[in-house]
Amino acid sequence: MSSEKIDVRYVAKLARIALTDDEVERFGAQLGDLLEHVQALAELDVDAVPATAQVVESRNVQRVDAVRPTLDRETVLAQAPQRQGPFFRVPRIIAEAE
């Protein structure tokens, strides 16, 4: 584990959160602090340890392929920040997906 400085602007870009310069500095320091504490994990010898993504041991939880009721469109669109007719409307999308 490295203790290099966290690139807050890059991370905020990935997370789609706009930060002011002040926030970049404050969060940078706080996240740096936290990462210091997290360094403790570096002491652990975990090479042979399996990773736990989940504590439940269930496998193959699946449902039957059957249609269930859908939501009413007006109920759904009533909560849209902006709608146009039957669609959700969003500002222009620049170029392709990330």
Binding site: I17, D33, L41, V55, A80, P81, P91, I94
Partner: protein
């Protein structure tokens, strides 16, 4: 105010089922009490007068038709991260401030079907991230035992509601201690069942592999009643466990004979101060006096719990909270293009703690850091779970503190990490998915002039042993009766 509002769920349901009181009567009294005290406590973000009365009338009709309901007329406070059709569900966040859920969380639905009455939706740390309720963007919740102190968090609103007799049962969610710590702070029983035992469908996710719903009550018996109603498989949640539930309410015990209780070598309480140390020494002695054999157990990896948790939970939350993007619902801050809209919306909609956790989680998953942080934390999680497995080879239960201190004054934890430390004793069980309960275990004075504040004893046990765990908690509660020593400063019946 009548003693109705301080009645336990067990006594209310008994009275209502017997036709001696109507659910409507219980509900009206409760709504009046809430209207009288909650301006000072701030437990509720939304009061549901009309819905509560409608449910009460429905319950009365069912009782009149001869039905018996496990929670007939029991006033229920619901943490505002659980969906309830037609009600505002905010997660105490600006980003969801006006969102109305079009569907209902499974646990809430089971409680209502069992006859519970939804009194309102309660305050919380925004998106359940915090240990004091101070991270709510929508309101301040005060500790009913000392209005100058926090109620704990993240489920602080439900804890405060039950502590101030504004509900008999409060629903909370616990990711790293968010039920157990506020229960300890508010003189309540707070229970986090085995991960997967209660459906998460309709619980707004913080960290999916850790989140678990559970009740706040004033007695272990009420906890057992609520648990028996909510527990069980839900086909809408893939992580919900399809395994028969052992009922608990009919297996509460009054002694601990034949049980081995482990005390964790690494959780020595001397460092918490002499008053707190004395409370826990007494508590452990009481367990022994009840017939338990006390054994020494080791959890050598537990000290890595915080570091592990503060990588895994933020990593999951960074992804879980991506959906709050201003497209389909919730807040939108307009901008010229969609990316700028996302950034402006999420910047305005999330508070600082949520942003911190999204950023650290995004970082921990990002290219080049994934193995060093996220995967390493997952492996540490394995070690912690293995520690518990080993410990439970020599004991049935483990006893330890529920929080590092009693409730503290507002604004007293300025740096994030000191707040994170509050969950030092609760996080390891969350990482291992274990059932864990906090039961009132005594009172401490933080300073000479302050009022005594409650402390909580945490008991934990292997997965799916809720029956034994609640039974033991009941024995301890009945033998010690710490909770009844003092009443709340606000909301007393």
């Amino acid at each position: 105010m009548s003693e109705t509002v301080s009645a336990t769920a067990a006594s209310i349901t008994r009275e209502v089922n017997a036709g001696r009181r109507s659910a409507r009567d219980v509900t009206d009294a409760m709504l009046a009490h809430v209207d009288a005290v909650d301006d000072r406590v701030g437990a509720y973000l939304t009061r549901l007068h009309d819905l509560a009365r409608a449910h009460a009338d429905k319950v009365d009709a069912r009782i009149a038709a001869g039905e018996k309901l496990p929670l007939a007329g029991v006033p229920l406070a619901v943490k505002d991260n659980m969906c309830l059709t037609g009600t505002r569900t905010t997660c105490a966040s600006k980003i969801l401030e006006h969102w109305v859920a079009p569907y209902t969380n499974t646990a809430v639905a089971r409680m209502l079907e069992a006859g519970a009455i939804p009194i309102g939706k309660t305050n919380m740390d925004e998106f359940a991230m915090g240990s004091s309720c101070e991270n709510s963007a929508l309101g301040v919740t005060r500790n009913p035992y000392d209005l100058g102190c926090v109620p704990g968090g993240s489920s602080g609103g439900s804890a405060a509601a039950v502590a101030a007799n504004q509900a008999a049962i409060g629903l909370g969610s616990d990711t790293g201690g968010s039920i157990r710590e506020p229960a300890a702070f508010c003189n309540l029983v707070g229970f986090k069942p085995t991960y997967g035992r209660i459906s998460r469908y309709g619980l707004i996710a913080f960290a999916s592999s850790l989140d678990q719903i559970g009740p706040f009550t004033r007695t272990v018996e009420d906890t057992a009643l609520a648990y028996d109603v909510m527990a069980g498989h839900d086909p809408m949640d893939s992580t919900s466990i399809d395994r028969a539930v052992e009922s608990t309410a009919d297996h509460l015990r009054t002694d601990l004979r034949g049980l081995k209780v482990g005390l964790v070598r690494e959780f020595d309480t001397e460092g918490l101060g002499s008053d707190i140390h004395a409370v826990y020494k007494k508590a452990y002695a009481d367990l022994e006096a009840l017939g338990a054999e006390i054994v020494d157990v080791a959890l050598p990896s537990a000290k890595y719990g915080l570091a592990t948790y503060y990588l895994i939970a933020p990593a999951e939350c960074s992804s879980n909270l991506a959906r709050f993007d201003g497209v389909r619902y919730g807040l939108r801050v307009d901008a010229n293009d969609v990316t700028a809209m996302y950034e402006a919306t999420r910047s305005a909609g999330f508070g600082p703690e949520v942003k911190r956790r999204i950023l650290i989680g995004t970082y921990a998953l990002s290219s080049g850091y994934y193995d060093a942080y996220y995967v390493r934390a997952q492996k540490a999680r394995t070690l912690i779970a293995k520690d518990f497995e080993k410990a439970f080879a020599s004991c049935d239960l483990i006893a330890c503190p529920a929080a590092s201190s009693a409730a503290f004054p507002f604004n007293s934890k300025s740096d994030p990490y000191s707040m994170y430390l509050m969950d030092y004793y609760t996080i390891p069980m969350s990482l291992a998915g274990l059932p864990a309960i906090s039961v009132p275990c005594g009172w401490v004075k933080v300073s000479a002039e302050s009022a005594p504040m409650p402390m909580g004893l945490q008991l934990t046990s292997p997965i799916f042993t809720e029956r034994m765990l609640l039974g033991a908690a009941h024995a301890y509660e009945q033998a010690t009766k710490h909770a009844g020593l003092r009443g709340p400063a606000v909301g007393a019946a």
